[in-house]
C-alpha cells in the first residue's frame, strides 16, 4: 500500500518537473527570439541552460526507477552542463565584446557608440578587427 502511494507521488512529482522544465525551455527560446540585441539574448539562453535543463533532468531521474547507473549518468550530464554552460556563454560574450559589438544600454535601449571601460590596450584579436572582423559589429 505504502509503495503504491510512493509510486504515485513520484509520478506526479516528475510530471510537475517535466511541465515546469518544458515551460522554462520554451521561455528561454522565446527570449532568444524576442529580446532586442545580442547581449540581452544571452540572458535568455541562460534560462534554458540552467533551470530548464535541470528541471527536465530531475524529472528523468525520478523516472529512472532507481536504476542507479542511469541516475549517475543523468547527474554527470547535469554537473557537466552546470560547468560548461557559463564558460561557453562567457566566451561568446567576451568574443562579441572584444570584436567590437556595442550593447544597448539604459531604459530607452540607446546604442552606446563607445562602450564604457573598454580596454583598448590589450586583447590580441582587437588588432585583427581592422582586416575584416566587422560583420559582427555593424548590424
Amino acid at each position: 500500500m505504502m509503495g503504491e502511494r510512493m509510486d504515485s507521488f513520484i509520478h506526479y512529482a516528475s510530471l510537475f518537473l517535466f511541465a515546469a522544465g518544458s515551460f522554462f525551455v520554451i521561455t528561454g527560446a522565446l527570449g532568444l527570439l524576442r529580446f532586442p540585441d545580442f547581449y540581452t539574448r544571452m540572458h535568455a539562453s541562460g534560462v534554458t541552460d540552467t533551470l530548464g535543463a535541470d528541471l527536465i533532468l530531475w524529472g528523468m531521474i525520478l523516472q529512472a526507477d532507481g536504476d542507479w547507473l542511469l541516475i549517475a549518468k543523468l547527474l554527470i550530464i547535469m554537473l557537466f552542463l552546470m560547468f560548461t554552460s557559463p564558460v561557453s556563454t562567457h566566451s561568446i560574450a567576451h568574443a562579441a565584446w572584444v570584436g567590437g559589438l556595442n550593447p544597448l544600454l539604459g531604459k530607452d535601449l540607446k546604442h552606446s557608440d563607445i562602450a564604457p571601460d573598454r580596454d583598448e590596450t590589450k586583447s590580441a584579436p582587437e588588432a585583427q578587427s581592422a582586416d575584416g572582423q566587422h560583420e559582427g559589429g555593424t548590424e
Binding site: 532568444l32 523516472q63 560548461t84 584579436p125
Partner: protein, 107 residues
C-alpha cells in the same frame, strides 16, 4: 508516457524557435549563441527520446553530445577570433597575405 511526448514536443518547438534566431542573425555572435542553445536542447531531446523509446543507452549519446557541444562552441569562436585554428599559425598566414614571405615560396 504522455509527459515524455509533451516534453519532447516542447523541446522540439524550442529548437525551431532557436533555429529561427540562428537564421535571422543579425550578427555572427547571435548565430553562435543560437547554435549553442540548439545544442543544449539536443542533449535534452536525446535523453527524452531514450526514455520515450525505453532505450536508456541514448543517455550515453547525450553525454557525448554535451562534451562535443562545448568543444564545438569554443572551436567556432576561436576560428572566428583568429581566422585560423592554431594561433601560432596566425603570424605566418598574415605574413603570407602581406607578401613578406622572405622568398620561402621559391624553395
Amino acid at each position: 508516457m504522455i509527459m515524455y511526448v509533451a516534453a519532447t514536443i516542447a523541446v522540439i518547438v524550442a529548437i525551431v524557435i532557436a533555429l529561427a534566431r540562428a537564421i535571422l542573425g543579425p550578427s555572427l555572435y547571435d548565430r553562435v549563441l543560437a547554435g549553442n542553445a540548439v545544442g543544449t536542447k539536443t542533449i535534452l531531446l536525446l535523453g527524452l527520446m531514450g526514455f520515450l523509446t525505453g532505450r536508456p543507452e541514448f543517455l550515453d549519446i547525450a553525454l557525448l553530445y554535451a562534451l562535443m557541444n562545448f568543444i564545438a562552441t569554443i572551436a567556432i569562436l576561436k576560428f572566428f577570433g583568429y581566422r585560423t585554428m592554431s594561433p601560432q599559425m596566425r603570424d605566418i598566414s598574415s605574413r603570407l597575405r602581406n607578401g613578406h614571405n622572405d622568398g620561402g615560396a621559391d624553395g
